[in-house]
């Protein structure tokens, strides 16, 4: 009998792992064809190397930042926060990264859409980034609203621009990242017919704004959610969150039922 896995565990070769700004790193790894076929919104479970004093036990979930099936590569963009991501930061070209994926349900683009809006903050910008290429391939215009604490911490902006997206950055230091201001930007885009759907990740406040607008204008939307994970394969139930499905509160596993969910079902 032939067994055909849809998820692989492999020891991918690190090609580069460079600092993007004071908080984020960009890692590129050479991998097999299955991993390189990962879709936007999907994620990998990375076994992070131990560094002195730190031995991360669980794998760490990391969104796909980019995939190239022809070159057989995957990319991650990650913020160094704790034991696991510090271990990742220590990887050098030529080292092996034990990764498992692609996992979860990613973003779905409707070819009938003419334009979409991606709204992200912090590490959520990494998750949204591969949408740019997928939308470009379908001829869908993208406006990206990228939110960060400071202008120098905005990530993914160059990638969005290189795929023809219009980029608006909003930051805390400039006082432009508040929900009211972002809502104003979104209303403007909806008013000029540039928003057939919302895509969001990384901010509960911005999610609430989009939920309001999605209801008011009857627009579809997707949100990528985060939750601590152990197995990443729907087996351990540690990653459940509450969702509102038709007025009823149900538990869903972020790793298996998501990480991408209907914007109206998510509870920020």
């Amino acid at each position: 009998m032939n067994f055909c896995p849809s998820v692989v565990r492999e020891r991918a070769e690190v090609l580069s792992n460079t600092l993007v700004n004071s908080e984020y790193r960009h890692l590129v790894a050479a991998c097999g064809p299955l991993a390189a076929s990962a879709a936007p919104g999907q994620f990998f479970q990375l076994l992070c190397p131990a560094s002195p004093g730190n031995a991360p036990f669980f794998r760490r979930p990391m969104s796909l930042y980019g995939a190239d099936p022809a070159k057989r590569q995957v990319e991650f963009l990650y913020k160094v926060t704790g034991a696991g991501t510090r271990g990742l930061a220590d990887l050098h070209p030529g080292d092996r990264l034990d990764m498992m994926g692609p996992l979860g349900r990613g973003f779905v683009l409707d070819p009938a859409w003419k334009s979409i809006v991606a709204v992200g903050r912090g590490a959520g910008l990494a998750t949204l980034a591969p949408l740019a290429q997928a939308a470009q391939a379908l001829g869908i215009a993208v406006t990206a609203i990228l939110s960060a604490r400071r202008p120098d911490l905005v990530v993914s902006d160059a990638l969005f621009r290189s795929r023809g997206a219009t980029v608006l950055t909003v930051t805390d230091t400039e006082g432009t990242s508040g929900p009211a201001h972002v809502e104003g930007l979104l209303r403007g885009l909806i008013g000029q017919g540039s928003c057939d759907a919302f895509f969001t990740c990384g901010s509960s406040r911005l999610l609430r704004v989009q939920q309001r607008l999605a209801r008011e204008f009857n627009l579809p939307g997707s949100v990528a959610m985060e939750q601590q994970m152990a197995c990443g394969l729907g087996m351990c139930f540690c990653c459940v969150r509450d969702f509102n499905v038709g007025g009823e509160i149900v538990h869903k596993r972020v790793c298996w039922d998501g990480p991408v969910f209907d914007v109206l079902e998510a509870l920020p």
Binding site: M1, F3, P5, S6, V7, V8, R9, L47, A55, P56, F57, F58, R59, M100, Q228, A230, C231, G232, L233, G234, M235, C236, F237, C238, V240, H251, W256
Partner: protein
């Protein structure tokens, strides 16, 4: 040593023939694993514990990592028996290995009802998770004491004709007595064991690292403790003992079998390495072949324990 041919990996556990002695531990396995590994290679499939009542599970965070292991307080988020019969059971029919259904209930009567309800075609054996709180004994787990173990296993035995595996808790001080009670009440096999009650505190926030404060420790950290308990149980009863606790490699599994386990369950290791069970099966086969064993059952209880002859003790001599 030389490879002396292949080893028969089949084992029989309480009337159930398994192609090999390796299976998942309840609650650490679901159909999602089939996207990474071929489930038909496993000795058996074991479901997450199901309950009669609908449960949602415990508050977040439900897991925390500790040195060489993890804490969990998942609770038992169960969708109930009808859901199991209508959805889970048909789904598992696509795989060949025997299906073992793990059940739990808050009283002996409820346990018996549930065992009867899941004794349906497609289910090969029942694993009774009696490490759960017994409402008739102030929430103390059934398997903490020999008396409550005997009562619940008698009820279960009367309620089903399927092979009955009984999963014990490592948190009792009376492992061998509890094992004997389960045997006397009609169990067909013992699973040793569930997680060890433990906790951890975050030094930045001063908060417990589990929403539930306490939870179960699993993974490599518990292996030496549970290995000892398997040894104690295997010596106390004639029933087959299934070892479960911190097994990640074939070497771990071999150690358990030498201590007296007739089969093993792999839990936490699968979270880190989805192919862990396959590696254990292949590695165990190689290990047995290397030792010229015709059957993997030759490993069971084969630990050599000779009393050292005082005259033989040479290592204590100081080197000049």
């Amino acid at each position: 040593m030389m490879d002396r041919g292949t080893t028969d990996m089949a084992v029989t556990i309480g009337g159930v023939r398994l192609a090999n002695p390796v299976m998942p531990a309840s609650g650490t396995f679901a159909e999602g694993l089939s996207s990474v590994v071929d489930l038909n290679r496993l000795g058996a499939l074991v479901t997450k514990t199901i309950t009669r009542e609908l449960r949602t599970g415990n508050p977040l965070p439900r897991v925390a990592e500790v040195d060489s292991g993890m804490l969990n307080a998942i609770g038992i988020p169960s969708k109930g028996v009808p859901y199991f019969l209508e959805h889970t059971l048909p789904l598992y029919r696509q795989w060949v290995p025997p299906l073992v259904v793990s059940i739990s209930a808050p009283s002996a009567e409820h346990f018996a009802h549930l065992a009867a309800e899941v004794s349906v075609p497609g289910v090969t054996a029942i694993e009774a998770n009696i490490s759960c709180p017994n409402i008739e004994e102030d929430g103390k787990a059934f398997a903490m004491r020999a008396t409550s173990t005997e009562t619940v296993v008698r009820h279960l035995r009367a309620a089903t004709s399927l092979p009955l595996w009984v999963k014990l808790t490592p948190n009792t001080g009376d492992m061998a007595e509890v094992a004997k009670a389960a045997e006397a009440a009609g169990a067909d096999a013992l699973v040793v064991a569930n997680t060890i009650l433990a906790m951890a505190i975050d030094l930045q926030t001063f908060k417990p690292r589990l929403g539930n404060v306490m939870g179960g420790l699993s993974g490599p950290a518990i292996k030496p403790i549970v290995l000892r308990q398997v040894y104690q149980c295997a010596r106390a009863v004639r029933l087959p003992v299934i070892g479960c606790g911190g097994i990640s490699t074939a070497a771990d599994a071999a150690e358990y079998m030498l201590a007296g386990a007739s089969a093993v369950q792999v839990g936490t290791a699968t979270f880190l390495h989805p192919g862990a069970m396959i590696d254990v099966i292949d590695g165990l086969a190689r290990f047995c072949a290397l030792h010229g064993m015709a059957s993997v059952t030759e490993l069971v209880g084969a630990m050599k324990r000779e009393e050292a002859d005082e005259d033989d003790v040479t290592w204590a001599e100081p080197v000049a």
